[in-house]
Symmetry: C2
Subunit: 270 residues, 2 copies
């Protein structure tokens, strides 16, 4: 797999490349993180007021495919053991700020929006297993094409939790048929970063009308014979925010993830 354009590919120094990427984001660089920092787990972010934290944690527990929780901060904290020294308010490429379910801002940092009662959830991201799939020979079309991964809101409803409800969001990667079993198996071995796909083949089975018009990210070209494969996606909490309208929330921008120091293989069960 080709390496990102940041020149931070040194895998011999634990966490260094990830820290350098985070420093660039902190200085204002915004970009999708697919294909960045080989071998490090990436994470979705959602921060909600403390009085919504139980509903969010329960929503994640009840929907572990789209919402596998890697870490939860204490209220007001913006650090995580997944990346010591990182600041969750500044170290993602781009954020989204939500009020009553409406997107009100998409800033490069959320220092001005931060509140002392926010509990932050870091949720596994399928970018984490892309390296494993790539090493197993599965092409990453969106990375090859220099695009963000395409994401779609499906017609599958999550199991509600308290005041939170909404549809499942999926990411899609085209997979050559002879590599489908490999892609399924290798991702299934990493349940903390969404695990195996929720569907392969006809997008209509998920209520997706047009692969060329994703709800988030960029459309990606299929090569002849490619099968579209759909993985549950950590943008699902954002769909729950839209549907459930909590008074306030902060999330990452889709595809612009928190890059952790954790090695991806730590999330493989064998």
């Amino acid at each position: 797999m080709s390496v990102d354009g940041l020149g931070v590919e040194d895998r011999s120094v634990p966490g260094l490349a990830a820290a350098e990427a985070r420093a660039q984001f902190r200085s204002g660089v915004g970009r999708p993180t697919a294909g960045m920092v080989p071998g490090r787990a990436q994470a979705n972010l959602i921060s909600v007021p403390a009085d919504w934290a139980y509903d969010m944690l329960l929503f994640c527990q009840r929907n572990p495919k789209p919402c596998p929780v890697l870490d939860v901060t204490d209220a007001g904290a913006y650090s995580t053991p997944l990346a010591p020294g990182a600041d969750l308010r500044t170290d993602l490429p781009r954020y989204r700020v939500w009020e009553h379910g409406e997107l009100v801002d998409e800033p490069a940092d959320v220092v001005a929006h931060w509140r002392g009662d926010l509990v932050s959830f870091l949720i596994g991201c399928s970018f984490t297993f892309e390296w494993v799939l790539a090493e197993a020979g599965v092409p990453m079309r969106h990375v090859e094409q220099g695009r963000n991964v395409p994401m779609y809101v499906t017609d599958r409803l999550c199991r509600p939790a308290g005041r939170l409800h909404g549809p499942m969001v999926v990411s899609m990667r085209p997979v050559p048929p002879e590599l489908l079993a490999t892609a399924i198996r290798e991702s299934a071995l990493m349940p903390a970063v969404h695990g195996g796909p929720v569907h392969s083949g006809d997008p209509a089975a998920l209520g997706i009308e047009d692969l060329g018009r994703p709800d988030f990210g960029d459309p990606v070209d299929l090569e002849p014979g490619d099968i579209p494969v759909f993985w549950a996606c950590g943008v699902t909490p954002q769909a729950a925010v839209t549907a459930s309208r909590p008074p306030f929330a902060i999330t990452h921008a889709p595809g612009q993830m928190f890059i952790t120091d954790v090695r991806d293989e730590q999330y493989r069960v064998v």
Copy 2:
């Protein structure tokens, strides 16, 4: 593997054998459930007042090896989609009732102790993968010897969550060395029921002084050459109750589990 003594081995009727076992427990039969109802997942129970539910759910998220959550009820509810029709207040063989961290009762049902503010957590149990290990040829010494699995409080501390803290509890199974890799791999493929072992070999590495004196369950005889293998155990929340002293809690009695209708293979990632 030998089948339990209840005559409820019909795997062709989904959930029936499990329902029959639960009906026997409801009528007052108490016994360890290791080796009962082939192919159905078993679960640990801990019920806490709603104002402790977030701490408990976060404790589980932060300690996923001992506390993998299979389901969480709404406050006051005593049903679960893991076993439609079951009553969590009556359908376990034996319960423990805790006040301020002290064991105050060990009844056959908890109808008289039930409160409308209790949130119940069903946590994966290693009995679930025993069938998979047995089918792979790994002997289940405690089942062969007609004993409850031995469980030990270790010197490894869980990651605290809010007001909850305490040590990790483990279960132990003796494994012949030539089957150790199989036992590790097969259990690792089932992270929702504790996954792979946390340790194999010298019990002192976990602060366990004498395998012959477990903290819960029965001592089990090792065959010559057997290696003691330790899996994180769902009695860990009970150790947290003892250490953290919440005002009230209800749990299962160690080894006397909730038998669900869920097929064990549903918790295999591949």
